[in-house]
Amino acid sequence: MSIARLAVTTERLDLDALIGAVSSAVEADAEGTGAITSFLGLVREHNLGRRVIKLEYEAYEPLAVRTFERIADEITERWPAAQVAVHHRVGVLAIGEASVAIAAASPHRADAFAACRYAIERIKQIVPIWKREFFDGGDVWIEGATADPDDAAAREDAYRRACV
């Protein structure tokens, strides 16, 4: 079974499927996969002193998927041997559920770690997905970064965080 490597979905995230997808992608090349890293972002119960009840994620889905593609291209440019897969969930999520899953595969571990970290940093910067936090006493839209895929400083910041 083949899954979309980059997707927005209302379904529970399946990290194993993402790992399988990136692994076979690298294996198609000469060196083979030596390292797979992954990242899961989960809904936490506490934020800024508030007790969180649930989160609701909303996406502009076609642009979100295109932006995942842009991030995957940036990764290929920096780490040519790496492959990534990203699924982001939308809808209402309970505490402990995964909102985002990323898998990165590469012949070597340094690149797999960097590609995975770069992906989550860029997702937070430029992918059109929003979250609304429902807490004890109210709800609030969490607003983070102004999305600007051409902002070179933001991209460099993601690269710096990804690179050891």
Binding site: N47, A59, Y60, I120, R132, E133, E143, T146
Partner: protein, 95 residues
């Protein structure tokens, strides 16, 4: 000419709808469309400094020229990723 407008998250709450149709003059820019929305929904003006826009599901600049039938999206600051803000606790010193 006629364009469709999509708004998201808190901006959708302000506008009171996820999608609108609006008339704009031929040659109007994304900014012209936005200014019209702010005139209709003054609270949207708070996003003047933090807004992103997309035309036909590609990121666009405020001076991008619109065409009849375009889908224009106005995007408040994004917050994909983990479930909540994520400061640092441990002892990695430069991040």
């Amino acid at each position: 000419m006629r364009v469709s407008v999509r708004v998201f998250a808190r901006l959708r709450d302000i506008v009171g709808a996820a999608e609108l149709e609006r008339e704009v003059p031929a040659g109007a820019s994304v900014r012209r469309l936005w200014d019209g929305l702010v005139a209709e929904f003054p609270d949207a003006g708070a996003y003047a400094g933090s807004l992103s826009a997309a035309v036909n599901t590609e990121y666009a600049k405020m001076d991008t020229e619109l065409h009849n039938g375009d889908e224009v999206a106005f995007l408040p600051p994004v917050s994909g990723g983990e479930g909540v803000a994520t400061p640092r606790i441990g002892r990695c010193s430069t991040n």
